[in-house]
């Protein structure tokens, strides 16, 4: 449904070129919940914004983003506007994304009025349906964002994203700033939503409970893509292993070192300097290796012959 091919997003800054997203490829299948996992600053949100072309002007984007046989990067701004919200909707990560001076009901009805030119009343009756689905009382529709708690705002944002019936929903850190209880509610809600979803999170337990497939991002690169079940039982990439081991339930073992700067990240495998298994070959860019339905960008899984060729 959505295919990202060799996507690069670079930012020109005074200090040099920031490679926020580097050579990322993945595809989303109809109806699945695909989760991008990664620590802060690994380029997850930039990737999401690149898909909707919401990046600031100093971003250099290369590669292909194919959505329903169209390359999003080649669409005109007009076509883009028709696509945003109606075909691909974005649930922003900050709860400040609601306009403080407009009622939440109106803000949810807006995409409908804009995209389908329906009357205000019809738009609102649809919004009430979505509100009911998400467990928000209809009478709250005329309230303003400051009258809502964080969890409620998050639900309103989900309602906004859902209102124009998009085919793909991109949720950018939907659990940010919510407590465990509210995260549980969001998981329930997301499970009920029967749409293709791209979820971006750094909350591993959230990803575990929700996703069909998982992609791990490290330093702008996707290092592993696996079905969620396999990922959480047997991660392939050393970084994925490190991530899971750092969970409290699995020993609370931190990964040593820090994520390298995106301006002059190490050549070859970017995780090399923090990796326990690094070998001589890791100084060269690792290949993407396919193992059944899993992908991993790591020399450890390459055939001996290939490694020797590169050393």
């Amino acid at each position: 449904m959505l295919r990202v091919e060799n996507l690069k997003v670079h930012f020109k800054t005074e200090l040099g070129i920031v490679k926020a997203v580097d050579r990322v490829s993945f595809d989303l299948r109809e109806g699945e919940k695909f989760t991008l996992i990664g620590e802060s600053g690994s380029g997850k949100s930039v990737l999401a914004q690149a898909i909707l072309r919401l990046l600031p002007e100093n971003a250099i984007v290369a590669g292909k983003i194919i959505f329903k046989n169209r390359n999003i990067l080649e669409l005109s701004e007009r076509e883009m506007r028709k696509l945003r919200g109606k075909e691909i909707a974005w649930i922003p990560q900050s709860q400040n994304s609601l306009n403080p001076v407009l009622s939440v009901g109106f803000q949810c009805a807006e995409p409908l009025i804009e995209h389908f030119k329906v009357s205000k009343r019809r738009a609102f009756s649809r919004v009430f349906k979505i509100f009911k689905f998400l467990g928000i009382e209809s009478k709250k529709a005329k309230n303003y964002p400051h009258q809502f708690s964080g969890g409620m705002k998050q639900r309103v944002l989900v309602a906004m994203g859902l209102s124009a019936e998009p085919e793909l929903l991109i949720a950018d850190e939907p659990t940010k700033g919510l407590d465990a209880n509210k995260i549980g509610q969001i998981i329930k809600i997301f499970k009920k939503i029967n749409k293709t979803m791209l979820i971006i999170t750094h909350d591993l337990r959230f990803a575990d409970k929700l996703s069909d497939r998982v992609a791990v991002m490290y330093c702008g690169e996707v290092v592993e893509i696996s079905p969620a079940k396999d990922f959480f039982s047997s991660p392939l990439h050393p970084y994925s292993k490190g991530l899971l081991d750092s969970l409290p339930s699995r020993g609370l073992k931190p990964i040593k070192g820090f994520q390298p700067s995106m301006i002059d990240s190490p050549k070859g495998c970017k995780f090399r300097e923090r990796c326990e298994h690094s070998i001589e070959a890791c100084k060269k860019t690792p290949p993407v290796i396919t193992l059944n339905d899993r992908l991993v960008r790591c020399w450890l899984y390459a055939k001996r012959r290939e490694i020797e060729k590169n050393v």
């Binding site: 909707l52 919401l54 506007r81 028709k82 696509l83 945003r84 919200g85 109606k86 909707a89 974005w90 922003p92 900050s94 400040n96 994304s97 609601l98 306009n99 403080p100 001076v101 407009l102 807006e110 995409p111 804009e114 995209h115 309230n143 303003y144 400051h146 009258q147 944002l157 906004m160 994203g161 124009a164």
Partner: protein, 286 residues
């Protein structure tokens, strides 16, 4: 809970003394203007036999050099001043807000052009510019009340534009703008429907405080003989006519002057009060 915001705002307004006093003064003055036909006599009627009479029971504010009742002229003057000032404020607010918002939101060359125009207007002393403009308009189109209105609007929109630009500049970086874009809204729609409503508060404060300045300018132009022309009652022009008699008949200048001062005070108090209530940082140096 339902209308919490409105209720809190109202109670804050009612508990703010500045607001109340300012509003009281303005309500009183406006009421005088509205009721002018009832509470005042004909402001144009001359009576040479009763010229330059000091305040008495028949003429509470005395009479002028043509024997016209100063009280009636001052009261009718409320209408002139307030209507002209309101027109000027509304016009310059719409022009200023629009241009400022566009400059702030779109940036780039649009911002450069509007920004430089604002700078040029700010560089010229306002009153001098007004005088020049009124003079030019008078020569070009003849005497009319619109000369004054247009001249003041031309200098006055700048302050709205400058402040609106600043507000929009910070508002457009807020997350909800990005969120709206992600939902497929266009730039103009976002600007008008989402960004500008967030700027209404400071704009109302600015407009209120600005009304005082506008009244002052109208009166100044009137005093210089460039404003609203006699015999239409207007405070500045009344002071101008009375200044020759200031030693023998001070009431000719005192009462119009008092009304100018009090109405400006009213707007400034209300503006300051609103600013406090709206809990925003000071946007205008007064």
């Amino acid at each position: 809970m339902e209308f919490a915001q409105g209720t809190i705002f109202r109670s804050k307004l009612l508990n703010n003394n500045l607001c109340l006093i300012g509003f009281g003064i303005l309500a009183f003055i406006t009421l005088m203007g509205v009721l002018a036909p009832v509470i005042a006599k004909n402001p144009y009627k001359t009576n040479i036999a009763e010229r330059l009479e000091p305040p008495n029971l028949k003429h509470p504010f005395g009479t002028d050099q043509l024997g016209r009742d100063v009280y009636s002229r001052v009261v009718w003057g409320v209408r002139t001043t307030l209507l002209v000032a309101l027109t000027i404020s509304l016009m310059s607010m719409s022009i200023g807000c629009f241009l400022g918002a566009i400059a702030g939101y779109f940036g780039g060359i649009v911002d450069d052009i509007i920004g430089r125009v604002i700078d040029v207007f700010l560089a010229i002393p306002e009153l001098v510019f007004n005088i020049a403009l009124v003079g030019v308009f008078c020569l070009a189109y003849g005497e009319s009340i619109w000369n004054v209105i247009l001249a003041v609007v031309i200098t006055n929109w700048v302050s709205y534009a400058r402040i609106m630009r600043g507000i929009v500049l910070s508002l457009k970086e807020r997350e909800f703008v990005l969120c709206e874009k992600a939902l497929g809204a266009g730039d103009l729609y976002i600007l008008i429907r989402h960004v500008m409503p967030n700027a209404i508060g400071p704009m109302i404060v600015l407009a209120t405080l600005n009304m005082g300045n506008v009244i002052m300018t109208i009166a100044s132009l009137g005093f210089l003989g460039l404003g609203i022309q006699p015999p239409t009652p207007e405070w500045g022009q009344m002071i101008n006519a009375g200044k020759n008699y200031i030693t023998t008949a001070p009431w000719l200048t005192f009462f119009p002057g008092l009304f100018i001062a009090v109405s400006i005070l009213g707007f400034n108090l209300l503006g300051e009060g609103l600013q406090e209530v709206m809990d925003r940082e000071r946007i205008v140096e007064t």
